[in-house]
C-alpha cells in the first residue's frame, strides 16, 4: 500500500465510489456527518436550485427596465428579496450582452460558479479544456457550443478569481415582444447565462 505522508488520500480505496463511501463511513462513525444531511444537500442541488432561478431573473430584467437597472448596479438587495441569495452567490455581478459586447464567464483556477442562480456547474465548465482555452481563444470555444459571433462583436471573458460571481444577461431574442415573463424565462438557457449560448427565439 503506498503511504505518502504528504498525501494521506492515497490510503483510501482507489475506486472513487468506494473512496466516498469509506470517507462517509468514517465521518459518520465519528459523529461528524449526518447521512441524512448529505441526502438533503444532494436533493437541494439536484432538484431545487438550478438555472431556472437565473432564467427568472433574466426574464424580469428584459421586461422591467427599473429592475434591470437595479440589477446591473447592485443585484444583491433584490436577489435577497427574491430568495436567491446563498452559498456561492454572496457577491453577484450581472454583465449584460449587447450587440457590441458578448460576455463569457470562466474560473481558470478552479470552478467558481453562481450556485444560487445556476446550480452546480456542468462537467464542461469544470473541464481542463474549458478552463484552459476560453480565456485565450473564446471565439473557437464558443464555436464548439454552436455560437458564431459577428467579427465586430467584442468578447469579454470574466475569470472568476475572487468571491465575485458573474451572471451573463443574454440578449432578448427577436420576435418575443408580446411574451410574458414566465414564457420568456422558459427560453433562457443555462449556457446563455454563462455566455456559451445565445437565447433561441420562440419556436413558431
Amino acid at each position: 500500500m503506498p503511504h505518502d505522508h504528504d498525501h494521506p488520500h492515497s490510503l483510501l480505496p482507489p475506486d472513487p465510489a468506494l473512496r466516498v463511501k469509506a470517507l462517509e463511513t468514517i465521518l459518520t462513525e465519528k459523529g461528524l456527518v449526518d447521512p441524512a444531511a448529505l441526502d438533503e444537500i444532494i436533493d437541494t442541488y439536484q432538484n431545487r436550485i438550478g438555472p431556472r432561478n437565473g432564467a427568472r431573473v433574466v426574464a424580469r430584467m428584459w421586461c422591467d427596465p427599473g429592475f434591470r437597472e437595479e440589477m446591473l448596479k447592485d443585484p444583491m438587495p433584490r436577489l435577497r428579496e427574491m430568495g436567491l441569495y446563498g452559498r456561492q452567490g454572496e457577491h453577484m455581478v450581472f454583465v449584460e450582452n449587447t450587440r457590441d459586447v458578448h460576455n463569457v464567464v470562466v474560473c481558470t483556477l478552479c470552478s467558481c460558479y453562481p450556485w444560487p442562480l445556476l446550480g452546480i456547474p456542468p462537467g464542461w465548465y469544470k473541464s481542463d479544456a474549458y478552463r484552459a482555452r476560453v480565456v485565450r481563444e473564446p471565439r473557437k470555444v464558443l464555436a464548439e457550443f454552436g455560437v458564431d459571433l459577428p467579427g465586430e462583436t467584442r468578447v469579454r471573458v470574466w475569470d472568476s478569481t475572487a468571491e465575485i460571481r458573474y451572471l451573463v444577461v443574454p440578449q432578448r431574442p427577436e420576435g418575443t415582444d408580446g411574451m410574458d415573463e414566465p414564457d420568456l424565462a422558459a427560453l433562457v438557457t443555462r449556457d446563455s447565462m454563462v455566455g456559451t449560448g445565445l437565447v433561441p427565439g420562440p419556436t413558431p
Binding site: H7, G86, P138
Partner: protein, 221 residues
C-alpha cells in the same frame, strides 16, 4: 513557481464537450460534494484553505483525478492535516473513536438554512487606492509572497500584464493570507480588464479578459 491548477491559456486540452452537463454524472459525485460541504461546516478550514488543498495535490494526481476525486482527495488530506481523522482510520475505512467535534456536525434540519445563509467575504478595511480607469501592472511572477508555493489568485497568464481597473468590488478577504491561517488581511478588490492581445500576443482587436485582483497584486502602470 506555478501549480498545476493554474491552466488558463494552456495548449493541448482538445475540444470542450458541451454535452457533459448532468448535475451529477454519477451518484458518487453528489455524495462527494455533499460530504465536502458537510465537513466544511465543521468550521476547521476556510474556502481558501480548501482550494489550496486541491491545488496542492501532486500534478500527477491532479491530472489523473476527475473533478470530484480532487475534492475527495483534498478533503481526506485536510481531515488528516487538522487531526480530525487519522491515517489509520483512512486505511481501515472505519473510525477508531468518536470525534470531540461531533456537536458541530451539520444535521439534516440545518442544511437549508446553511446553504441559504452563505458567507460574505467583504470586510471593513483599507479604502481602495485605485479608481476606475486606473492603469495597473500585475505582479510577476504570480506567487504568494508570504508562503513559498502558497495559494494565490493571480493567474499565471495575467502576471506582469498591464490593464485597466473597470470595477471596484469593495474590500475582501485576501486568499493568499487566509488560505494559510495567517488572517483575513482584507484588501481592496478590483476587476481589471486586459486587452486579449496584451495577454496572448495575438487576439481579435477589442477582445478582453477581466480578472478579479487584490490590491497587493497591482502597481500603478
Amino acid at each position: 513557481m506555478s501549480r498545476v491548477h493554474d491552466m488558463g491559456g494552456r495548449f493541448g486540452d482538445g475540444t470542450v464537450a458541451p454535452g457533459e452537463d448532468a448535475v451529477f454524472a454519477a451518484p458518487w459525485h453528489g455524495r462527494a460534494l455533499a460530504l465536502t460541504l458537510a465537513a466544511g461546516a465543521l468550521g476547521h478550514w476556510t474556502i481558501d484553505a480548501s482550494r489550496h488543498a486541491r491545488e496542492s495535490l501532486s500534478p500527477r494526481d491532479y491530472a489523473r483525478f476527475s473533478y470530484y476525486e480532487k475534492w475527495l482527495a483534498a478533503l481526506a488530506d485536510m481531515l488528516v492535516a487538522r487531526g480530525i481523522v487519522t491515517e489509520d482510520e483512512l486505511q481501515a475505512g472505519h473510525a477508531a473513536e468518536q470525534s470531540s467535534l461531533s456537536e458541530r456536525a451539520l444535521m439534516a434540519g440545518s442544511v437549508a438554512g446553511v446553504l441559504k445563509s452563505g458567507s460574505v467575504y467583504d470586510r471593513a478595511g483599507p479604502a481602495p487606492a485605485l479608481v476606475v480607469g486606473a492603469r495597473v501592472r500585475t505582479r510577476r511572477p504570480a506567487r504568494n509572497t508570504m508562503v513559498e508555493g502558497g495559494h494565490t489568485r493571480l493567474p499565471g497568464y495575467a502576471a506582469g500584464a498591464t490593464g485597466t481597473v473597470v470595477r471596484l468590488h469593495g474590500t475582501h478577504v485576501f486568499p493568499d493570507s487566509n488560505a494559510h491561517g495567517l488572517g483575513e488581511a482584507p484588501e481592496p478588490l478590483y476587476a481589471v480588464a486586459f486587452e486579449a492581445r496584451e495577454l496572448w500576443g495575438a487576439a481579435a482587436e477589442g477582445d478582453e479578459v477581466i480578472v478579479d485582483l487584490w490590491q497587493s497584486y497591482l502597481e500603478p502602470a
